[in-house]
Symmetry: C2
Subunit: 196 residues, 2 copies
């Protein structure tokens, strides 16, 4: 098997189930779903991402906690959730994410809100920003220049997650409140590219 | 701030607390601790990694579930634990990990145990192995050629984690039972380098 990886560029496909471990009612989607209850399911309790990257949301209409979903099997809520502190077993809406070619993804992080203070251009994955020289456990604002990114509250890709895309807000996230409706602090200790 | 990152090469330093949110009794370590109870603490409930990468263990003597700990702040058990399915609030022993220079880390994964079947040489982070072409959600065996790696049960660096090092077992992990005393299946859907 070669190391040069053929990156699938869609079409997106996700299969969701209303019971854990791929049981119960089953539905396939190739585009976004704003409210799973309108499809006759009360909740999504397991899922398989078959093509592309997706974001799942705690609430309908793409609100609440966000969960990045890349290709693979997710048998229970805790296989996608990043935080136990705010225990979430709901996944009510989801949508595809456009990731760039892995090598071309780029984001600039800023020490303070409104794109001021120290800045750092990133084009790789960082399980600990501080280990690589970022001076604090916080990030004030971010500009996505290419692709899609996930940043996390704790090192090692744990805690609250925020999906940031060059196609949303023109890629500009000037205050932590713009990262997601559940963002309560600007604490960001790890960051990585989304993989298509 | 430049993009060329000065990678700190130790000395390792970790500060542990017996209460959440960096409260209670506090101790600093620069080398491994085989049993935190011998230091007069009943458990580690929060910690700060100040230098180097570490592995924490559920039980004393480096047994049970493993948790990679890179530089940053961990205010509660769920900021280092990867799985809720097997709910763990214990961290009883820990030790430093030798990571390679980030660009030089290398591991070979094999489809079946004892280093047979399809194989794939990896020198980058993969939040979804399947998205990049690996044909299954399982890995049979692994050879670490350089550095230290973390592999995870689920995509996106979630679920059970296994720390694999070129300095342990000569880097050879020929069966999932050698990945860690808590390994129950050969399910591995994401893998990444450890960052020093």
């Amino acid at each position: 098997m070669a190391l040069t990886n053929p990156v699938p560029m869609g079409p997106w496909k996700i299969t969701v189930y209303d019971q854990e471990h791929f049981q119960g009612k089953r539905m396939e989607f190739t585009s976004s779903c704003q409210n799973i209850m309108e499809c006759g399911m009360d909740n999504v309790r397991s899922l398989k991402v078959e093509c592309g990257a997706w974001v799942g949301y705690e609430h309908s209409s793409f609100c609440g906690q966000q969960f990045i979903l890349e290709r693979g099997d997710y048998p229970r809520w805790d296989s996608w959730s990043g935080s136990n502190a705010y225990h979430i077993e709901r996944l009510m809406s989801f949508r595809p994410v456009c990731a760039a070619n892995h090598k071309e993804s780029k984001i600039v992080i800023f020490e303070r809100e409104n794109f001021i203070g120290n800045q750092w251009e990133i084009s790789d994955d960082y399980p600990s920003l501080q280990a690589m020289g970022w001076p604090s456990k916080e990030v004030g604002s971010m500009k996505v220049q290419s692709g899609a990114w996930v940043c996390y509250q704790f090192p090692g890709y744990r805690g609250y997650q925020y999906i940031l895309e060059c196609d949303c807000h023109g890629g500009e996230y000037k205050h932590y409140r713009e990262w997601g409706s559940h963002a309560q602090t600007c604490q960001v200790q790890s960051i990585r590219r989304v993989q298509n």
